[in-house]
């Protein structure tokens, strides 16, 4: 059976540099950074005392959660995910069934995370250790179970199809988009809210600080800290947030005359199996190349058709290797290489949320016709400039409308995901 065509009809985002689609779009076009000094990290003796943290006020949450849900809410990933998810649903112009109606059997949620409700879990651990488990209340489980985010969204939106949470470290968000794509392309669902979220705060970021893979020399100068592709890149800036995309069969989108942002042409996920240089923390280059090639084959496009790449590009010493992998997989180098950018220069690395937030950015580029600029790339890594000219790594937003954007994410565990977004045309 032929695969059905699948499109994107709604976007929602909670990013360090913008807490809704409008703010985020503006930040993308203007190169606005969301990296800030976090006093709490300094108080706790972190080496890296900066992060990309969405600025969400308690009042803002009242628009998204009811009074019972707000009681004892201490799960930032849940907050970001619900805001982004509900915004995307509304952006898509979708209604929500009434309490006494059936759920919508053909709509679902695939919303990933790495870990959920860390602050809530911390509260619970203190109470349990004090022998006071009876005082935990009813909301500890629902805020700390990984699938809490999809469970909340599934209920709020009345979804009756798949409602689940995927987890594959930093490729989680891109994987969620592809899982939704597959399910819709194969006719098992019509509409799926796909996305991912990541908690913020010291308990999430601490482990990375301990691995010494975060930059520690930029605490006084946060905006210059996240330097993907730069010679002076010294680690990724931790971030948090959520991205959400309403993914829908073309048939359903046309039937309800929805606004179509872009088409998902195809994509692929794979793993390097911790072989050939791959490990728990480093990607197997051969697997990365194969994932990209496979995504292109699935999308039925030619590598030459790719106008722009939105890379994983975290600002570690591995960035030149990623560029090399793209170059080998696409068989394109020098002036022939596509434009490439990394959202992480503006937001830091939003971990499990990165793939979905960056997918939102990729799709906005196609819909609105530009290629957003990188910041902190004035001193490109010499290994990168031997492969591709610096014009391919724009420092300001270019008024060039990409028709096809390839977006990839790579995660701990040696896992990869690559999706091909395409301008929609009949």
């Amino acid at each position: 059976m032929d695969k059905r065509r699948v499109v994107i009809t709604g976007l929602g985002v909670v990013a360090p540099n913008g807490i809704d689609k409008t703010e985020f779009t503006q930040a993308l076009q203007q190169g606005t950074s969301g990296i800030q000094f976090i006093p709490e990290l300094a108080d706790l003796n972190f080496s890296c005392q900066i992060a990309g943290k969405p600025n969400i006020s308690k009042d803002y949450l009242n628009h998204y959660f009811n009074k019972v849900q707000l009681r004892g809410l201490a799960a930032t990933g849940l907050e970001y995910g619900v805001i982004a998810g509900k915004d995307a649903w509304q952006d898509a112009g979708l209604s929500i069934p009434e309490e006494e109606e059936d759920p919508r059997w053909d709509t679902g949620v695939i919303f990933g995370t790495g870990i959920l409700g860390v602050d809530k879990f911390r509260e619970a651990i203190y109470k349990v250790d004090e022998g006071n488990v009876r005082r935990l209340g009813s909301n500890t489980v629902i805020q700390t179970m990984a699938s809490g985010i999809s469970a909340f969204l599934g209920g709020m939106l009345g979804c009756g199809n798949i409602v689940t949470t995927n987890s594959s470290a930093c490729s989680t968000g891109t994987e969620a988009v592809l899982m939704a794509y597959d399910r819709i392309a194969s006719g098992q669902a019509e509409i799926i809210l796909a996305g991912s979220t990541s908690d913020s705060g010291p308990y999430v970021w601490g482990g990375f600080d301990a691995m010494r893979i975060l930059p520690h020399k930029y605490n006084d100068n946060p905006i210059t800290a996240s330097r993907p592709m730069s010679a002076s890149a010294s680690g990724f800036v931790p971030g948090a947030g959520a991205g959400a995309l309403v993914i829908e069969s073309l048939e359903s989108a046309l039937n309800r005359k929805a606004n179509i942002y872009a088409e998902i042409a195809g994509g692929a996920v794979n793993s390097g199996g911790h072989r050939n240089g791959g490990s728990m923390t480093a990607p197997n280059s051969k697997a990365v190349q194969q994932c990209i090639r496979s995504a292109i084959a699935q999308a039925k496009i030619h590598p030459k058709d790719i106008d722009a790449i939105n890379g994983h590009l975290t600002a570690t010493t591995k960035d030149p290797v990623e560029i090399e992998n793209w170059s080998i997989a696409l068989e394109r180098n020098g002036k022939d290489f596509p434009y490439i950018n990394s959202l992480k220069s503006l937001t830091g690395h939003c971990l499990a949320a990165s793939g979905s937030i960056e997918s939102v950015a990729s799709v906005l580029q196609i819909k609105e016709g530009y290629i957003f600029g990188n910041i902190n790339t004035e001193d490109l890594h010499p290994e990168i400039t031997t492969m591709i000219p610096k014009q391919k790594i724009p420092e300001t937003t270019l008024a060039i409308a990409p028709k096809i954007v390839a977006k990839a994410s790579f995660g701990f565990g040696d896992v990869n995901a690559c999706v091909i977004f395409k301008k929609y045309s009949e």
């Binding site: 019972v68 009681r71 004892g72 209340g137 009813s138």
Partner: protein, 84 residues
Amino acid sequence: MTQEQLLQKLKVIITPYVQNETALQNLSEDTDFIKDLEINSANLVDVVLDVEDEFDVVIENEDMEKMLTVKASLDVIQSKLNEK
């Protein structure tokens, strides 16, 4: 504390969990938390924890299980207060 004062305090505690606002307006001793007020049964433990905080008492599991109506709850609270 009079029964009326207790009832008013209990009403404040349960309000955030109530899904049937009309039943809350007509709150009486016979009001059932789940059937009338449509409080989610999972939230009954939260009501009890809030009662503990408000009245500075400890409510054991056996007493908690009884607290399904306004009257039963007031009885439990009153008896805990008397023990103090």
